[in-house]
Structure formats: structure tokens, C-alpha cells
């Protein structure tokens, strides 16, 4: 009955190395409606889900090398839902011909004591933000259209200020490494969203 999809297998065991395939883009607030309309038509036969999440980004600074970064996220709309802790690796280098950004990804759901645990471990919160928007799904593809807001007073998610006049659009798939068909599917899906939004492979390092 419940054939468990691959993604629910334990990722911590190291048996399956999950990768996140990602395409990103953005739309201005004015054109959000038409994009949502298009997504509703393209995505699976279900109503888009609204969400409001609070993300905290933690850093662990070691003696040398890059700091270790973890993202902790909790749902503001569903307070009892578990926290989600995520590690995202560096984008895979080389392979310029690859259609989507590919990076290592470890997902863990955690209880509500996560911030304390991270603090105890020596992590320090770097920044936090609130993301609100809509969530779509098409097969294994996840489309997140979200507005990012800055948290003005640390810890207070009521008091926020939008970061920009546009929405972030992310198309992502979680799959084991080396699945090129995944990125092809993503590319063809992204093609269907043009010209409402141009989803592209964006290297976060270039932006820094």
C-alpha cells in the first residue's frame, strides 16, 4: 500500500546521497497573479498550499576554512509541525552543461528544541527571515513562490519588512546524484513558465 518514496529513506545513514536540483527566478509583485494562475494549471491537481515559514541560518565557525552553515526552519502556520533542519552543500563545480544547479542536501526534521541544541553545539545565528507564499507540486518537483521578509526585531516574526518588491520562485527536486533526466524535466517545466518567469541556474557564490 504505502510504497515509500525514495525521499523518505534515511539520509543520515549515508546509504543514499540526496542531491537538490534547483532553478531559481523571481517575479515582480504585479505579475505574481498570472504566474500563480499558470502554475495552478501546470501543476498537479491540487490546490496550492499557502505557507509562512521562519528560517534561521546558523553558522559554526571553525579554526580554519569556511564556516559550516545550517538552516533551521519552522512553520508559522502550523506551530506543532516539527522543525526542519537542512544542510546544503556547495554547488557542484565542473559540468557547465548541466541544466540545473546541483548541490548536496541533508534534510532532518527536528523537535522544537532545535535552536537551543544548535546554540549549545556552538552554532551562532547569522541571520533570520520570514518566507511567505505558495507551494506547488508537480510529480517530484516542488515549486515555491515566496516573499522574503526581513525580521526587524530578532525573534519577533510579527514585525517584518519585505526585502524587495518581488517574489522568489524556486523549482527544486530531491533526487539521488547523477540523475540527468531530473534536470531535463525541470528545464522543460521552466520552459513552460516563460515568459512569466525565467528560471535559471544561479550560482549563489557569484552573488556574494
Amino acid at each position: 500500500m504505502e510504497a515509500p518514496p525514495v525521499s523518505v529513506m534515511p539520509v543520515t545513514g549515508g546509504a543514499i546521497n540526496m542531491m537538490e536540483y534547483l532553478l531559481q527566478g523571481s517575479v515582480l509583485d504585479q505579475s505574481l497573479e498570472s504566474l500563480l494562475h499558470r502554475l495552478r494549471g501546470l501543476c498537479d491537481n491540487m490546490e496550492p498550499e499557502s505557507f509562512a515559514d521562519h528560517e534561521l541560518v546558523y553558522l559554526l565557525k571553525g579554526q580554519q576554512g569556511n564556516p559550516f552553515l545550517l538552516r533551521a526552519r519552522r512553520s508559522l502556520l502550523h506551530p506543532p509541525a516539527p522543525w526542519h533542519l537542512r544542510y546544503l552543500g556547495q554547488p557542484e563545480v565542473g559540468d557547465k552543461s548541466r541544466l540545473a544547479l546541483v548541490r548536496n542536501c541533508v534534510d532532518v526534521s527536528a523537535s522544537h528544541g532545535l535552536p537551543e541544541v544548535l546554540n549549545e553545539m556552538g552554532f551562532r545565528m547569522d541571520h533570520e527571515f520570514v518566507a511567505k507564499g505558495q507551494l506547488f507540486r508537480k510529480g517530484g518537483m516542488k515549486v515555491v513562490v515566496s516573499k522574503l521578509s526581513r525580521v526587524l526585531v530578532p525573534g519577533n516574526t510579527e514585525n517584518t519588512e519585505p526585502l524587495s518588491l518581488s517574489y522568489l520562485v524556486e523549482l527544486s527536486v530531491l533526487a539521488p546524484a547523477g540523475q540527468d533526466t531530473v534536470s531535463e524535466d525541470m528545464r522543460s517545466f521552466a520552459e513552460q513558465l516563460k515568459p512569466l518567469v525565467h528560471l535559471e541556474k544561479i550560482d549563489p557564490k557569484r552573488l556574494m
Binding site: 500500500m1 504505502e2 530531491l174
Partner: protein, 643 residues
């Protein structure tokens, strides 16, 4: 004017429509005063171009000819006003007048020439006499020829007409195709691939995971033979469905008592009559619905056979060809088969169908369809969107498992969910148990007349549970003998019996158990009835026992017994009733009435006559009365002394 022609006066006047100069606020219109004659003339004169002749733009030869004819009027002609044509409003009138005048002049000249007879005479044209004498053959030929020409003309016209009609029809058919396509589009998923139109008839969007692609192709059916009559059910749109989805299919579920030979397995081929087409629905719609049904049946069967192989049961399920065989109860076989007919062979196979009794369980077939749809819905709804949004798609409970520190038992309890096959087997068990219970009760009721057994089935049942109320009564005494009321809750594996007093007995699925139980209840009922009757008749209950420890041992349950004494205590009736041994009724007489009793020397005193005397068995079979309780009433009445 012109030579010889009398002067014709043409009076020309402009319409006296006055121009509105202004409209005042109160609606009064002020007219501009009309131009006076002289003003008008001046205005017109301003537009005259004296330098240009209106004739100049006319054709050369025409002018020449006119000049020839109108030479005498040269002087007057010169005096005529020359106009600039386009500027003058009366220009066309003038031109027309002028040309008519020319015509008139010509006519006049011709007439005068003819009249003078100086240059020309007119004679009637002499008819050629030979024309009238044309030979008949020639006449006929010419007539024939002209008729043929006429006919040809007509034919050509007719051809043109038919061509246009055909074109019209062609266009209409094209339109029909488009409108049909629109209707198809409103009910089925379509997409365009290359130059083909493909549709989707699978249940994938409803949550099905069946790997069959389930696509059909839309075909344009417009190139008909125009000469032939168009059939009534003609439709410009046709659909082509995959060959494996053609025909009709259904899932046959049946429960059989004994297993057939192994050679019979997997050859179930029963076909139902094709449902008649509903009027007003399109051929393509019926075809697609049938194909979709075939697909669903295949999916159900595939799911069931997968589960049949996976599930470990004590008696393994057998999957052979298009049949799944399972044993819900020992000696009982549940067979689920996929019957798929491809249409052509239907007639040959329909015949063996009729000889066999139809043991198809429609309820279970329907429930299977319902279950697969529930299953679809579950797959759709089980994928809830993750919160927070960054979490991967998975079951919520699996995300909860870590943070909530679930142990293995909790996780497995969360994951536990029954498959289609398990559910349908449970339902089949229940249905079987229910029908057998009904049959047991019915056969008992028809076999045993006294006491009576009544069953009240509840109308609304769960798929796994139904209940029946069983009343055991005696005819004519329903009001006083209500001691035995049983509530039978029929489950999947067992029957729970709830007594009126709250006792609960659990019976297994064995038929004999229920039958024995009911028999013992019926036997107890008789004794209970005597007890109730005694109350009504004023007799006293001396002893009562549901389970007597004395006497012959019953194979089913226990005998029960009661002893009641008459109101004045002289007589006593003792009843022993066993489910197997039947009833035995004894009457105890007072000692005084016992004549055969030897006079004892010891008990001489009169008071001893009040002691009870010996028992005598009543020949119950010879008693009058239609049933046990009635007989008992008569007996009691006979033993009660008249007041």
C-alpha cells in the same frame, strides 16, 4: 431651341427646405431666410465656368455625329452656357435633358426623313416562303437539337447545384467535428502531440498509480462515401482506444462451497449483456467509458494479485491466469476473476454462462470499485504539502517520527493499513456469514413450528458488521411469552449473541454452533413460557431451572425444567424440556385422589392426605391444542378446581 422642335419649358425649383440658423435654448428654431430668386441666380451664376464646354469631355465620334445632325443649331449652340460639370449641382439634370433632347431630335429627323419619302421608304419585310415549307424531318431535327441544348444547360445547372450542396455538407461536417471535439474536450483530457490529438482516459489524475498509459487517439471521421446513405449513428469524431482496453470487462466475485478441479482454474469467462446505449450520448463517449472501465478493472485485478502474492496468509492465495482464489473459511473458496471480453467472441461464450447459476456477488464487485477509488483518494491525499516548505515531500507521520521519538511499534502502527484483498476477503467473510446465519434461522423457522422463531434484520449495515434480532415466541401467546430476545451481531469471523439480560455469547463461524444454540434457546423458551403462563393462571412456581443436572444428558445444551403448583396446591405440573429429548410433562395428584396408592398403616391421620401424591406422565402428543403453551394452558385449566 433646336431646329423644328417646339420649345419645352422645364421649370426647376429647389426644395423649399429652409436652413436652420440656430436653435435657441427654449427649442425655438430660427430659420435662415430663403434666398430670393435673384440671389439664387447670382449664387448659381458664380459657379458657372464660361470658358469650358460640357461637351468637351464627351467622346469624339459621338460629338461628331451630333454636330453633323445639329449643324443648323450651331448658332444657338454657341449661345448655350458652358458649364464646369462637377461644380454645378444641376449638372446631371442638364446632361440628361441634353441627351434626351438629342435623342428626340434624332427621332424627329428620322421621322421627317421617312415622312418625306424622298430618300428612303419603309416596306414590310417579305417572309421567305421556303421557311414554312421546311420538311418535317428537318423541323424535328432542329427541335431535337434545341431541346438537347436546353437539356444540357439544365444539366449543367443541376451539377453546379449538387456541387454546392456537397460543399455545404462537407463544411457542416467539418463544423460538426469541431463541435464534437469541443464536447469531448469538456469531458476528457486531451492534448495535441504533433498532428495527432491524444486523450487520457486513465485514472492517474485521480490518484491511480497503474502503469498503463491509458491514452486514446481522436480520429476525424469525415471522409465518407458521399453516394451512400449516411448511417444514423454517424459521428464525425471517432476515438481509437488501445486494443487491450477494447471490449467490456468486469470483476467477478463469487464464493463457492467446494473447490472445483484444478483444471477449471483460470478459465472463468462469463460475460454480461452489453449495456444498451443511452439515447443522446455519443458513440465515442460510450467507447471511452467502456475502455476506462476495462482499465479500472485491470487495475483492481493487478492490485489484488500483487497483494495476493505479497500477503502471507495461513492458506496461501492462489493467482492463476485471470483468477484469484482465497479461502476465507475452511471448505469455502472466494474467487475473484477478471472477465474481459473483446466483443467478437461474446456470442460463443455467452452460452455456457446461462447453464450455470449466477453466483456473482454484485455487492462485492461494487465494493471493490469503491475500495480502489478510496485507495486512489488515499494516494492523492496522503501527499500533503510539507510544512515548513523546505521539507521534502513525504508522509507527515514520517517527518513526525524523529522529533516525536516514536518507537518501532508506534511507527508500524502508523503505517499499518489494509490492502484491497484483505478488505475484500473480510467483506466476503462477513457476507458469507450473514447469508449463512439467515439461512440457518430460516431453516429452523421452517422446520420447527413450535415455538416460532422470528428474525428482524436491520436494514442498514456496515460492510463488516450487521445485526439481526431473533425473537422466539409461541403462537397466540406473543404477549406473555417474550422471554427470549436475542441480538445477533454478525461480524467477520464470529457472531456475538447478546441476550436480553445482557449476557454475551460468542459463536464461531461454524454453522452448527448457531443452530445448536438456537435449538437450546427454543427449548428453554418452552419452560419460560410455562413460567409466564403460570403467573397469568395464578399457579405457583415451585422450582425452575434452566440447566437441569438430572436425567439423560442432552447432546446439545442442557434440559430445563419447571414445576408449578395449582392455586390451591392440590396439583403440581412438572415440565422437563430438552433440546434433543423433547418435553416431558408430569402431573402430581393429591394423595387423596390416588386410588391405587396402598393404604398405609403408618400414615393414618387425616392431615396426611394433604401430602402430595404420585406423579403421572401426561401423554403430551395426545393432548389437544395447537402448540405447547396452548396445551399447557388447557392442562392447567383442567387441574384448576372450579370456584
Amino acid at each position: 431651341m433646336m431646329s423644328g422642335a417646339p420649345a419645352v419649358r422645364v421649370s426647376i425649383e429647389s426644395s423649399c427646405e429652409r436652413q436652420v440658423q440656430e436653435v435657441s435654448l427654449d427649442g425655438l428654431e430660427t430659420y435662415a431666410p430663403p434666398l430670393s430668386m435673384s440671389q439664387n441666380l447670382a449664387k448659381l451664376a458664380q459657379r458657372i465656368d464660361f470658358g469650358q464646354s460640357s461637351d468637351e469631355d464627351e467622346d469624339g465620334p459621338e460629338r461628331d455625329s451630333r454636330e453633323q445632325w445639329s449643324k443648323p443649331e450651331a448658332e444657338e449652340d454657341e449661345g448655350m452656357v458652358k458649364f464646369q460639370p462637377s461644380l454645378w449641382p444641376w449638372d446631371s439634370v442638364r446632361n440628361n435633358l441634353r441627351s434626351s433632347l438629342t435623342e428626340m431630335c434624332v427621332l424627329h429627323d428620322v421621322l421627317s426623313v421617312l415622312k418625306d419619302k424622298k430618300y428612303m421608304t419603309l416596306d414590310p419585310v417579305s417572309q421567305d416562303p421556303s421557311v414554312g415549307k421546311t420538311p418535317q424531318v428537318f423541323q424535328l431535327l432542329s427541335k431535337k437539337k434545341s431541346l438537347a441544348t436546353a437539356a444540357q444547360l439544365l444539366l449543367r445547372g443541376a451539377e453546379k447545384l449538387t456541387k454546392s450542396v456537397v460543399e455545404n455538407q462537407e463544411q457542416r461536417r467539418q463544423r460538426d467535428f469541431n463541435s464534437e471535439l469541443l464536447r469531448l474536450r469538456s469531458q476528457w483530457k486531451l492534448r495535441k502531440v504533433g498532428d495527432k490529438i491524444l486523450g487520457d482516459l486513465s485514472y492517474r489524475s485521480a490518484g491511480s498509480m497503474f502503469p498503463h498509459h491509458g491514452t486514446f487517439e481522436v480520429i476525424k471521421n469525415t471522409d465518407l462515401d458521399l453516394d451512400k446513405k449516411i448511417p444514423d449513428d454517424y459521428c464525425p469524431l471517432n476515438v481509437q482506444i488501445p486494443s487491450e482496453l477494447e471490449g467490456s470487462a468486469y470483476i467477478k466475485v463469487s464464493i463457492q462451497k467446494q473447490s472445483p478441479d484444478i483444471g477449471d482454474l483460470g478459465t472463468v469467462n462469463l460475460f454480461r449483456r452489453q449495456a444498451k446505449a443511452k439515447p443522446g450520448s455519443q458513440m465515442w463517449h460510450l467507447k471511452l467509458e467502456a475502455a476506462q472501465n476495462v482499465l479500472l478493472c485491470k487495475e483492481i485485478f493487478a492490485q489484488l494479485s500483487r497483494e495476493a502474492v505479497q500477503i502471507k496468509s495461513q492458506i496461501p492465495h492462489i493467482v492463476v491466469k485471470n483468477q484469484i482464489i482465497s479461502q476465507p473459511f475452511p471448505g469455502l473458496q472466494l474467487s475473484i476473476s477478471l472477465c474481459h471480453s473483446t466483443g467478437e467472441k461474446k456470442n460463443q461464450r455467452a452460452s455456457p454462462d446461462k447453464s450455470k447459476p449466477d453466483d456473482h456477488l454484485y455487492v462485492l464487485e461494487h465494493n471493490l470499485h469503491q475500495l480502489i477509488r478510496e485507495f486512489h483518494k488515499q494516494t492523492l491525499s496522503s501527499v500533503v504539502m510539507p510544512h515548513p516548505a523546505s521539507a521534502p515531500f513525504s508522509h507527515k507521520r514520517l517527518r513526525m517520527a524523529g522529533p516525536m521519538a516514536y518507537d518501532k511499534a508506534e511507527i508500524s502502527s502508523l503505517q499499518q493499513s489494509e490492502g484491497l484483498l484483505e478488505k475484500i476477503i473480510k467483506q466476503a467473510k462477513h457476507i458469507f456469514l450473514r447469508s449463512r446465519t439467515a439461512r440457518t434461522i430460516d431453516s429452523l423457522a421452517s422446520r420447527i413450528e413450535d415455538p416460532q422463531i422470528q428474525a428482524h434484520w436491520s436494514n442498514i449495515n456496515d460492510v463488516y458488521e450487521s445485526s439481526v434480532k431473533v425473537l422466539i415466541t409461541s403462537q397466540g401467546y406473543e404477549q406473555i411469552c417474550k422471554s427470549i430476545q436475542l441480538q445477533l451481531n454478525i461480524g467477520v469471523e464470529q457472531i456475538r449473541v447478546v441476550h436480553r439480560d445482557g449476557r454475551v455469547i460468542t459463536l464461531s463461524h461454524q454453522e452448527q454452533e448457531l443452530q445448536d444454540f438456537l435449538l437450546s434457546q427454543m427449548s428453554q423458551h418452552q419452560v419460560h413460557a410455562v413460567q409466564q403462563l403460570a403467573k397469568v393462571m395464578g399457579w405457583h412456581v415451585l422450582s425452575f431451572s434452566n440447566h437441569v443436572g438430572l436425567g439423560p444428558i442432552e447432546s446439545i445444551g442442557n434440559a430445563s425444567a419447571i414445576t408449578v403448583a395449582s392455586p390451591n396446591g392440590e396439583y403440581a405440573i412438572s415440565v422437563r424440556n430438552g433440546p434433543e429429548s423433547g418435553c416431558k410433562v408430569l402431573v402430581q395428584f393429591p394423595r387423596s385422589q390416588a386410588k391405587e396408592l396402598p393404604k398405609s398403616d403408618v400414615v393414618q391421620d387425616g392431615k396426611w392426605t394433604h401430602l402430595r401424591g404420585p406423579y403421572k406422565e401426561v401423554h403430551w402428543g395426545r393432548m389437544e391444542g395447537r402448540n405447547f403453551v396452548y396445551k399447557m394452558e388447557l392442562l392447567m385449566a383442567a387441574l384448576t378446581p372450579c370456584p
